[in-house]
Symmetry: C2
Subunit: 322 residues, 2 copies
């Protein structure tokens, strides 16, 4: 079987690719070809005869049309302008996050064999009253352009699936933590920074009050969930392909305390609160409480605790506790 | 003040125009100019020095840009490809219902004074489990491309309002009954036909079982609600501009019985059930039970009974009971 990862050069795309190469396939069959598309790739991409990396812009119709000629069986759609950038540049966010995704669906519609799509949506489709619990039936009410674009694409994924043009499933991702590498323009970037940076001996700040709760999932679990989503039978899903992924509700304070217990007060002393009005205007509208009944029933997974997430990151990064 | 009605040549647009001319304005001020835009107009449009009718295609950017040079204070956006047509022709529905609306928002974004928009959305954004009660927090899960397009535009209306480009409010209309004139390509067209046609001595059919419940609102009430929506202060609405309008839950059987009580068994004998798989595939996914707490609090109105709706139609059409 052939698999395509759009946004395959990003942190999650690359990790998903590695996992698929190790697993050797999905429930549908053995992996024969794995194509990654992104506007740039890191130098340390896996070396594998099944793997091909194509440098292209996701919003470039000719490029995507060309890539789709391979007739991929499964497409993981992770290509996006991140939340902070989409908020600051509405036109760019609309172009890539919305129009690019619509174009992908239109190109899939023209294919003879309609692919399965796993679309990386986001819990940023929710916003407003952060005290209420988000259930499977709760309506998307984004308070950001990024969330708006994701919510619109989810609707399209459902409609184009209903019409049989694709077989999509949209996963609403919690904030993914801990991300390796450098801080990025996602408004949730600090959730990873406050763990990653001090563990590497660097200072970091958080822009919201420490009691602020966030809804998080580790990279390990989200990759497992991407693969699980690709393996679920269309008939099990039914007409609604939108899934709130499981996650963990944790406050910034709790994350810091967990890290201090695992490491030392010396490590957490590198952290400080530095309020940021722009980041607060978005992050503080994200509800951190979810009841993901459907996702749990479908077999999606989450992490057990903030401590587990931190230990997992240290293990992955080869950070030895002093 | 200047008012623009997009889709002003349609049944509701024309009626809204007449009402605005009679009222002489909105809470914002006296009506000085009323511009209607549609691809065609009926011959019996009102004659008034304040009124101008412009024939144009809603998806024609140059035409809309030109019309917006008037800098309307309030825009009623009623332009749409109806549900049945949007289901049969996805490209046309996307072009007009979605891209046309996005283009309108983009053009408004370029204006110096950002207009208030009253957008005619639809309860067709809901679909699926018809036994459940739709509340203000219930998520849009359309089972039609029309509903999908309306739900996407609602999200855009919210986001463009949040950014201050427009001051929009999206009203989710119940099925409007009884519509005068001829049956149209709306999948709900039969809800009006079963009353209108027999009252004019003509036969009519309904494509769903008689116990099927629908969620309806009279033309009189929906016009009142359009005007009310235009009069609500932005601060009262807050960031969420999407409103489920009040309506009346009634079965096809109950509508027929009401008509028989008002008229005679001779009238209702003109009706028959003629199952239609296409219409059933859409109509039977519309939930007919709503709890419109927010709309009620905001002062939107509904009809008291099916009998009242039928009598109102007879009065408007000058039909005298034999």
């Amino acid at each position: 079987m052939r698999v395509l990862i759009l946004g395959g050069g990003g942190f999650l795309g690359k990790r998903l690719a590695s996992e698929l190469l190790v697993k050797g396939g999905l429930d549908q069959g053995e992996l024969t070809q794995l194509t990654l598309m992104d506007f740039a790739f890191p130098e340390d991409m896996p070396q594998d005869s099944r793997l091909e990396c194509i440098t292209a812009d996701f919003s470039d119709e000719a490029a995507i049309r060309n890539i789709l000629q391979y007739n991929p069986d499964v497409i993981f759609h992770l290509a996006a302008i991140v939340s902070g950038e989409a908020e600051k540049n509405l036109d760019l966010g609309m172009k890539v996050n919305f129009h690019g995704s619509l174009q992908l669906l239109e190109l899939c519609r023209q294919l003879t064999i309609h692919p399965r799509i796993v679309f990386a949506s986001s819990c940023a489709v929710f916003g407003g009253d952060v005290s209420s619990v988000i259930e499977d039936e709760t309506s998307a009410r984004p308070r950001s352009s990024y969330g708006t674009q994701k919510a619109m694409v989810e609707l399209l994924m459902n409609d184009y699936s209903r019409r049989g043009f694709v077989d999509a499933r949209s996963l609403r991702l919690p904030t993914i933590a801990v991300r390796p590498g450098k801080p990025n323009a996602a408004t949730s970037s600090f959730v990873s920074s406050i763990i990653r940076e001090p563990l590497h001996g660097k200072k970091a700040t958080y822009p919201v009050p420490p009691e602020t709760e966030v809804w998080i999932l580790s990279p390990k679990c989200v990759i497992q969930n991407f693969i699980h989503a690709a393996n679920i039978d269309e008939k099990v899903l039914g007409p609604d392909r939108i899934i709130n992924l499981p996650g963990l509700t944790v406050s910034i304070q709790e994350m810091i305390e967990s890290m201090e217990q695992i490491t030392s007060a010396e490590v957490t002393s590198l952290l400080s609160c530095e309020p940021d009005a722009f980041l607060q205007s978005i992050v503080l509208t994200w509800p951190p409480h979810f009841e993901t009944v459907r996702a749990n029933q479908l077999g999606f997974v989450r992490d057990a605790s903030a401590a587990e997430i931190i230990k997992l990151f240290m293990e992955e990064e080869g950070i030895v506790n002093k």
